[in-house]
């Protein structure tokens, strides 16, 4: 910001003017669209179709725990649990996690069975942007259940340059 002769340098007014300029710049930066390779939400929908097939996808039974706001997208803890008795007759066969805006929509697919006793899996994932994450659970009777969670990411993963 150019020095204004009317405002003595180091004064409170010049300080306020400077910080306002910095804040405005930061706000403008954060709303700029970042050019990058990103899986569009359509890619996620396509992946969901591929996993689920023609079966209906119902909301419920699945619980997806992710923090709503994360500072660093490089490691976001994620816990997915499914309400199921986990008996040989009725259990969860697979759980898939998909996301909207990472370069690839797929995050993880786990296969489990009645010997797990409890349908609950924890891991840590990378998030390239603030986005929606979905968990899909495939039951032994062939039905699919889902839950989703929105996460705001302050510092994105994956796309930063690496110092070598």
């Amino acid at each position: 910001m150019p020095d204004d002769p009317a405002i003595p340098p180091g004064s409170r007014r010049s300080f306020l003017a400077r910080t306002a300029g910095i804040a405005a710049g930061a706000a403008a930066l954060s709303i700029l669209p970042r050019p990058s390779l990103r899986a569009a939400p359509q890619a996620m929908q396509e992946l969901i179709r591929k996993v689920v097939g023609e079966a209906p996808l119902r909301t419920g039974k699945v619980r997806l725990d992710v923090p709503p706001l994360v500072e660093n997208g490089n490691a976001v803890s994620l816990i997915v649990s499914v309400d199921s008795p986990m008996t040989p007759a009725e259990h969860v066969k697979a759980i898939h996690i998909v996301n909207e805006k990472n370069p690839q929509p797929h995050v993880i697919s786990v296969t489990l069975g009645p010997s797990a006793g409890c349908a609950r899996v924890s891991t840590r994932i990378k998030l390239a942007d603030s986005q929606r994450i979905m968990a899909l659970a495939q039951m032994s009777d062939g039905s699919f259940w889902t839950a989703s969670a929105d996460v705001i990411v302050a510092l994105a993963a994956c796309l930063e340059d690496l110092r070598q």
Partner: protein, 106 residues
């Protein structure tokens, strides 16, 4: 040397549901990053993890680049019999690590 940490209870009552936690050191390089020289950094990830309990596969995970570095996985199993749990990670560039843990079921 790849380091893997495994947390399995040493003893359990028959029928108990036990939690198994695993962590392995691995960069999980996504393949989407560019180095300072402008050259893309090739993908190097673990793609598959499995846990075999006394010969029966009880858990399997297919991982994507979206899994954070040093993959952490925690899951559950029913303690049926004493024996061993074998954990296997495999991935890009011929990465393959197997670890075992013993469990005593009373």
């Amino acid at each position: 040397m790849t380091r893997a940490l495994i947390n399995v209870p040493a003893t359990a009552k028959r029928g108990d549901i036990i939690e198994i936690k695993t962590l392995i050191s691995h960069p999980m390089e996504s393949g989407y990053r560019v180095g300072t020289n402008g050259v893309p950094i090739p993908r190097d990830i673990i793609t598959l993890f499995s846990c075999v309990y006394n010969g029966e596969e009880i858990f399997r995970a297919e991982l994507s680049p979206a899994i954070a570095a040093n993959p952490f996985l925690a899951f559950f199993a029913i303690a049926r019999d004493s024996g061993t749990l074998a954990f296997h990670w495999s991935g890009d560039n011929g990465f393959a690590v197997t670890e075992t843990a013993a469990i005593t079921v009373e």
